[in-house]
């Protein structure tokens, strides 16, 4: 269960979002600058809402009234950023291990490496990876944190066609094999249709609608001009 009710100010932009969803995979969908990424950063604990409450699967991450504001480190979320944000001084192996809890079984590492086909990349540095490979490592790193939920910020943005297909296939595989609550930020209808069970449409910092994934897919079978943009998103 994902429950968000927040007000968040960033400069002159104000995000006022209230949504409840029991979908396993929820997408936040909307135009560039509508507040999708701000919502995701607030869930991750990297932006502090002015008021409100954020709860995921029964765990309260933020509650202004009760003065609960867990630090990003204590939210137990796996975050995949649009720009991968791999640590450039560490190998792929050390990047993957960075967030692994000490109690995590060694098999978890091997499992993630196998699932995301990273075995041949473990000794490389991030600078030696293609965009798609870096994105896969970022997904693996977030998964190995063994999070209670996975947050994906435009996971296919700025990738060329082949890399996009490659990462999308892996994300589909994750959805099939892991029963993990996922919140996906995207402005690409095909990406949302492929990965989300429910879709929250955000418009100018407000919730415009909440659709089931199937209904959204039917509506966007032919992408409208407004939502078909592939331009990089402003991280508002």
């Amino acid at each position: 269960m994902i429950s968000i009710d927040i007000t968040l100010a960033r400069g002159e932009f104000t995000l006022e979002l209230a949504l409840n969803s029991d979908a396993r995979a929820l997408a936040l969908f909307g135009h560039s600058g509508c507040g999708k990424t701000s919502t995701l950063l607030a869930i991750a604990g990297l932006l502090r809402p002015r008021r409100g409450r954020i709860e995921i699967d029964g765990h309260v991450l933020f509650d202004a009234a009760r003065r609960i504001d867990l630090s990003p480190a204590r939210r137990d979320l796996g975050v995949v950023f649009q720009d991968a944000r791999l640590f450039p001084h560490l190998s792929v192996r050390d990047n993957l291990r960075f967030g692994m809890p000490r109690s995590a079984p060694a098999a978890a590492f091997d499992g993630a490496v196998q699932l995301l086909e990273l075995a041949g990349l473990l000794k490389r540095r991030p600078a030696q990876l293609s965009g798609g490979q870096a994105r896969r490592v970022a997904i693996g790193r977030a998964l190995l944190r063994q999070p209670r939920a996975l947050l994906l910020d435009e996971p296919l943005a700025n990738l060329h066609r082949e890399a996009r297909a490659e990462v999308l296939e892996h994300l589909r595989g994750l959805k099939r094999e892991l029963a993990l609550t996922t919140i996906l930020v995207s402005h690409q209808p095909d990406e949302v249709s492929a990965l989300a069970d429910a879709v929250a449409i955000i418009d100018d910092g407000r919730m415009a609608a909440l659709h089931a994934g199937t209904a959204f897919s039917a509506m966007h079978a032919t992408p409208g001009p407004g939502y078909a943009s592939t331009e990089p998103q402003a991280a508002r």
Partner: protein, 231 residues
């Protein structure tokens, strides 16, 4: 040119020891101050920054005299150190303190720039991976600042090695204790017949300074690009 005399060798060895100890001991404080300047906002920050940079601006003799007032035998801290048997006035440790104080601003400025060049998004990513503030610093910020740190150390070492005014004011010139290379050089210049010795020490000082600035320049050039999230 004849090799260094025993007295000149002693002065050179003392200078190297004093500079090394001074810079290494000031490093943790410099890291702390640089991190505060690079990563935090607090009331009185400009004043704090100005005070850190003061040894760069003040005449070295003034800095040396302040050290004498505070750490001398009659100074507030000096008396406590004397009572504990840790007197530093007129000892090589005092010379190391003077060198550390004079080199400190250079180290802080270099480290601050190095910390500021680390992409904060990487630190945020580390936080979402469960890392606390210390782990973020030691596993992400510091390793990505390493070139700037070593370059800063090299510059600070060169500054400490050349320190004269504050040292002679605070700990005077005692052979083997506080007569560092610049002080020995000054005395040779003031002494009839000391020209060849002065020339030798000048050459040594130039070589040490050149080596340090070369290391710093190489590292700063190689580390010139910002460490940003890759891919």
């Amino acid at each position: 040119m004849t090799p260094l005399t025993h007295a000149e060798t002693v002065a050179l060895a003392l200078s190297l020891k004093v500079s090394l100890v001074g810079v290494v001991c000031s490093l943790p404080f410099a890291i702390g101050c640089a991190w505060l300047l690079a990563r935090t906002r607090f009331f009185g920050k400009p004043l704090f920054e100005g005070m850190l940079l003061l040894p760069l601006i003040l005449p070295p003799v003034v800095t040396g005299y302040i050290l004498l007032i505070v750490f001398g035998h009659h100074g507030a801290i000096g008396r406590l150190l004397d009572a504990a048997g840790l007197s530093i006035a007129f000892r090589w440790t005092g010379a190391a303190l003077a060198a550390a104080v004079m080199a400190f601003p250079l180290l802080v400025v270099a480290l601050r720039n190095a910390f500021e060049s680390v992409d904060r998004k990487l630190e945020h990513a580390a936080a979402t991976l469960g890392a606390g503030a210390w782990r973020i610093f030691f596993a992400v910020t510091l390793p990505l600042s390493l070139r700037g740190l070593v370059a800063g150390l090299a510059l600070a070492f060169a500054r400490a090695f050349g320190e004269f005014g504050a040292t002679i004011t605070f700990v005077s010139s005692i052979p083997g204790q506080t007569r560092t290379l610049p002080i020995a050089l000054y005395e040779l210049i003031s002494m009839p017949g000391g020209e060849s010795g002065a020339l030798r020490l000048t050459l040594v000082a130039v070589i040490v300074a050149l080596l340090a600035s070369l290391i710093a320049a190489m590292l700063l050039l190689r580390g010139g690009t910002r460490h940003e999230a890759e891919a």
